[in-house]
């Protein structure tokens, strides 16, 4: 691919060079601020993540950005379009994958794509051609004539993503692209998103999977209760908030009481999830667990700090608690 064709694929930019710019946007339902004055920018070609538990305000943020939901205050600019003023124009240039696949059960796989493209403004011929292309790319060609309700969850999700590609958008927002998928389907979706990224598409996605955010996102924000708590690359965030290393103890039921007592006695902070106890030493050093060495049914391992730890450090809660 030449530089020139790469340029052609780039999105129209905002005056400040970004593709998406949210400035102090706020959404209030009743007396609850679902989104409470958040700001961020997404640069061209970047995959940007909003990471947070359910109810953090991710979906509402994405709906406001894609012109589907009015803001109470704040400014949004996407590809030079003032979204608050002209929510129709933003939907011309942006691909949107909504949280629920929103597939049309009255239509076949192909018809879902073709009619979406037509509604979006493609000519019938262009929409047909594009539908074939997109089906090929997403490996759904042999399901072209299937009813959508016959598809597996993973295929439905990929079809929903395929649909957002009908107009060849340069910027896409995806609300939880892999929620509810089995690991295999999730990997498949991630591979396809990687291809879009290579093609220069700017992606904003929301997720509550730490792993997804780590793998896909160039930069991300951690959201909770409608606010952005911190922003950066996954590595920066881990460096800033997570311990370098976390010691994990897999403890069998016979020893669990002894281990708890030992940790409490030695003032070592720990958290316990299922049969796994995570321990972080002071100043990032390995904690002194020598007293547990000879205990039966304790296996010790070490892992690097991750976004899960970041979330815990910032909010005091587990990400998975939702």
């Amino acid at each position: 691919m030449t530089n020139e064709s790469q340029l052609n694929r780039a999105a129209t930019l905002n005056p400040d060079g970004s593709v998406i710019k949210a400035d102090e946007i706020r959404k209030i339902y009743g007396d609850i601020a679902a989104v409470d004055g958040i700001s961020f920018t997404v640069e061209p070609g970047e995959t940007y993540g909003l990471l947070g538990p359910n109810g953090a305000g991710k979906t509402t943020t994405m709906r406001m950005l894609s012109g589907l939901s009015p803001t109470n205050s704040g400014a949004i600019t996407v590809s030079g379009i003032d979204v608050v003023k002209d929510n129709r124009a933003v939907r011309e240039v942006m691909g949107v994958v909504t949280q629920h696949d929103g597939l049309d059960n009255g239509l076949t796989v192909f018809q879902n794509l073709f009619l979406h493209g037509f509604l979006a403004g493609l000519s019938r011929k262009d929409s047909k051609n594009r539908a074939h292309e997109v089906l090929e790319f997403f490996g759904l060609r042999d399901r072209s004539k299937s009813n959508v309700y016959e598809l597996s969850g993973g295929m439905k999700r990929r079809l929903a993503i395929a649909r957002s590609m009908m107009t060849s958008p340069k910027v896409i927002v995806m609300d939880e692209p892999s929620t509810g998928l089995d690991p295999q389907s999730r990997n498949r979706v991630w591979e396809e998103l990687a291809v879009l990224k290579d093609a220069g598409v700017t992606v904003l996605l929301s997720t509550h999977y730490m792993e997804e955010a780590t793998i896909l996102c160039d930069r991300l924000s951690i959201m909770d209760h409608g606010k952005i708590l911190d922003e950066g690359t996954p590595d920066q965030m881990i460096e800033r908030h997570a311990p370098k290393e976390v010691t994990q103890l897999r403890v069998s039921p016979v020893s669990i009481r002894t281990v708890r007592a030992y940790l409490t006695e030695h003032n070592i902070t720990f958290r316990e999830v299922g049969a796994l106890i995570s321990v972080t030493g002071a100043n990032g050093d390995r904690p002194d667990l020598s007293g547990l060495k000879d205990l039966e049914g304790v296996r010790t391992s070490y892992r690097a700090g991750n976004l899960e730890d970041v979330f815990l450090a910032i909010t005091g809660r587990e990400l998975r608690d939702g």
């Binding site: 589907l68 124009a89 509604l119 979006a120 403004g121």
Partner: protein, 261 residues
């Protein structure tokens, strides 16, 4: 690059795109839909025209009961089609996020109602034309003016298409939609002059019957069917238009409240 198309105004592709979606879906299921478009109304037509008609000597202003009842049944049936499309079917489209997906393209709520109502009109025309041809073959539509029944068919599609949204836009579940039939469709089907002239109703019921928009549609259709158009048919048409001018904006308001959060 000028991407900014003005937000106000109607984008024609939104309307044709949605209409095409309904047409494609309709064609997929035509074997089932045809039973409702044609077979069911013909059954009613035959039962009432040949059956009930045998017991009735005649109705004022019409040569036979069958000729009296045919335009009424045809309009009643058109009403069911238009109402069903924008209540039951539209509810399913709300529930399955079909509108939500459509809204990710440059479409507005107003255009969604336009596309759907245009399809309700299409269904109304299909069933009216189909059933009218059968009625004509039976000899129950004899005047050349009967071709004009297409006009009340369009009006029924618009008025009842808009009316159906008042239910789908607020329905919490599908059971709620039975109200469309108990509150709107059934009373209108029986009290709008399809089966008997409204003038034979008790005095206090007659104005209520005229309030129902289907009464106006049946009146207009009968004017065309019997070749007896006069100024009252114009009043009936204006009443339907005025009513639609209230119902349609209300439908847009309610649907917007439902879909744009």
């Amino acid at each position: 690059m000028n991407l900014a198309i003005p937000t106000p105004g109607i984008r024609r592709r939104s309307v044709t795109g949605l209409w095409l979606r309904h047409a494609v879906s309709f064609v997929r299921y035509w074997k089932f839909v045809i039973t409702w478009v044609l077979i069911e109304p013909v059954i009613i037509l035959v039962a009432v025209g040949f059956g009930v008609g045998k017991l009735i000597d005649g109705v004022e202003g019409a040569p036979s009961y069958a000729e009296f009842v045919a335009p009424g049944l045809i309009m009643g049936n058109a009403m069911f089609h238009a109402l069903f499309e924008t209540s039951w079917n539209a509810y399913n489209r709300i529930d399955n996020d079909v509108y939500e997906t459509a809204l990710t393209t440059p479409i507005t709520i107003t255009e969604i109602t336009m596309g759907d109502i245009l399809w309700a009109v299409t269904r109304s025309i299909m069933t009216v034309v189909g059933t009218a041809i059968v009625a004509a073959l039976f000899g129950w539509l004899n005047h050349w003016e009967a071709i004009g029944i297409i006009i009340p068919a369009i009006m029924v599609g618009i008025t009842f298409g808009a009316l159906g949204f008042l239910f789908s836009a607020v329905a919490p579940h599908t059971t709620f939609l039975t109200l469309v039939f108990t509150l709107v469709a059934s009373p209108m089907f029986f009290f709008s002059g399809s089966f008997f002239p409204i003038s034979i109703l008790p005095d206090w019921v007659e104005p209520i019957a005229w309030f129902m928009p289907l009464t106006s549609a049946v009146h207009i259709a009968r004017g065309f069917a019997l070749g007896s158009l006069d100024i009252t048919h114009l009043w009936a048409a204006l009443y339907m238009i005025a009513l639609t001018a209230i119902i349609w904006p209300a439908a847009i308001f309610l649907l917007r409240r439902r879909l744009i959060k």
